[in-house]
Symmetry: C2
Subunit: 250 residues, 2 copies
């Protein structure tokens, strides 16, 4: 059953949605009728089973009867940010979509020394709008309760301002030196409710960039013995966090 | 430093490679010279530091001096097979490349009832050749010691013949019923050295298909609370296995 995010806070048993995008998808594309059901998520992350009561084709509005759902959350119990160096459009879009499926709460793209791509100031907003749309669609399909926020930092150094309580940078050199347990140990020992993972470009980070991050409380970790591509590493990281926090055998 | 697989078993201190693909890449594209070093992996998964001693441009051969490397393995300690329902070319190629980066030993594509794609008999070999090439390149870049084998089953039922000791099918209905611990518990309790994960198409498996797999010792597991796309789920699975077997904090 499809799920849509709405820019409202539900407070009554019935609601009329005036969202033209939702109208188009639910009525025009999927041809739902009165008494059909879909899921809606409001701004308070509330999940509601919504039964269509009335369709107004002239004004493109739908009136729903709402029933609060007690389905368990689909969100990770900690807030996870993935921060990735800029690369080509395909990869950026893929990272945004997949990171959303895998539970990221925030997706940050940043400039680093060896990035092969750079965004000009005048195109940033348009690019972020596009990525935000991808995140929204992926979040709806993945049945998330929030839409991850996508943002851009024009300087890696701004990662020093990130307020996550547990911070990691995936550094190939650490992996080469055989570092394989720090990530898991840190997750095991920490009660942090917010985590960030930082991932470099195809050419990696410069030693100065890693020093800077380490000076700002980022732990340099290996992600296993194989070398992963720039767009694969954040997905590995999110999957590992899901294992740690959600696939409970503890 | 680049790494290449060679179709030989190294047994002496020096070897002459007659592989035109390697010659093209090492000499023509990368312009390596005598005394430069690369890595070679032979058919026994042996990793060798190879120093160029002689370049024969007429015959396109390179003579290397070999030094066995004691770098630890980049392979998962268990043999992992990912089996995915056929889908569009892009997705199949992504799955092949990413599964290789993430350590799969075998990658199987199969027909299932709700697959949106089907391969005609006369194109199968060509398609598999292409995917095998993708796996080889990805394995070299990921610094693997083996090249995953890519194969195709024209009928899901042939998955009954898979000889892995621990078998899972990712089933959305299990996740919806809140199943979240069986995968991890099974990995924890099992000393199996071979594991297979089976992943359905965008439309999911039919109940009959799941029954068939369960009758053939496949455990139906959830992969966390979010719905993942068909191409994401196998990557989540491989990452979880890497967490379990490689990111040791045990």
């Amino acid at each position: 059953m499809e799920q849509y995010f709405v820019n409202q806070i539900f407070s009554t048993e019935t609601t009329t949605i005036e969202d033209t995008e939702i109208f188009k998808h639910v009525i025009t594309v999927l041809r739902h009728k009165v008494s059909d059901k879909i899921y809606l998520v409001d701004e308070l992350k509330g999940l509601y089973l919504a039964t269509i009561e009335k369709i107004d084709k002239d004004n493109k509005t739908i009136t729903f009867k709402l029933l609060k759902s007690d389905k368990s959350s689909t969100e990770l119990p900690v807030k996870v940010t993935v921060a990735c160096s800029l690369s080509k459009k395909d990869k950026i879009e893929w990272i945004t979509q997949k990171s959303t499926e895998l539970g990221a709460a925030e997706i940050v793209f940043f400039n680093s020394q060896y990035s092969i791509m750079h965004w000009k100031e005048n195109v940033i907003e348009k690019k972020l709008d596009r990525l935000q749309e991808i995140a929204k669609n992926a979040a709806q399909q993945a049945k998330r309760r929030i839409i991850p926020q996508v943002s851009y930092l024009n300087d890696l150094k701004k990662l020093a301002d990130d307020e996550s309580k547990l911070k990691f940078v995936a550094y190939e050199e650490s992996a080469k030196q055989g570092e394989s347990s720090l990530l898991v140990q840190s997750l095991d020992q920490s009660s942090a409710k917010s985590v960030i993972g930082v991932f470099g470009p195809e050419g990696g980070f410069s030693p100065e960039e890693v020093d800077f991050l380490q000076d700002n409380d980022y732990l340099s970790v290996g992600l296993g013995p194989r070398i992963m591509r720039a767009e694969t590493a954040p997905l590995y990281f999110l999957s590992v966090l899901s294992y740690n926090y959600e696939l409970s055998s503890k």
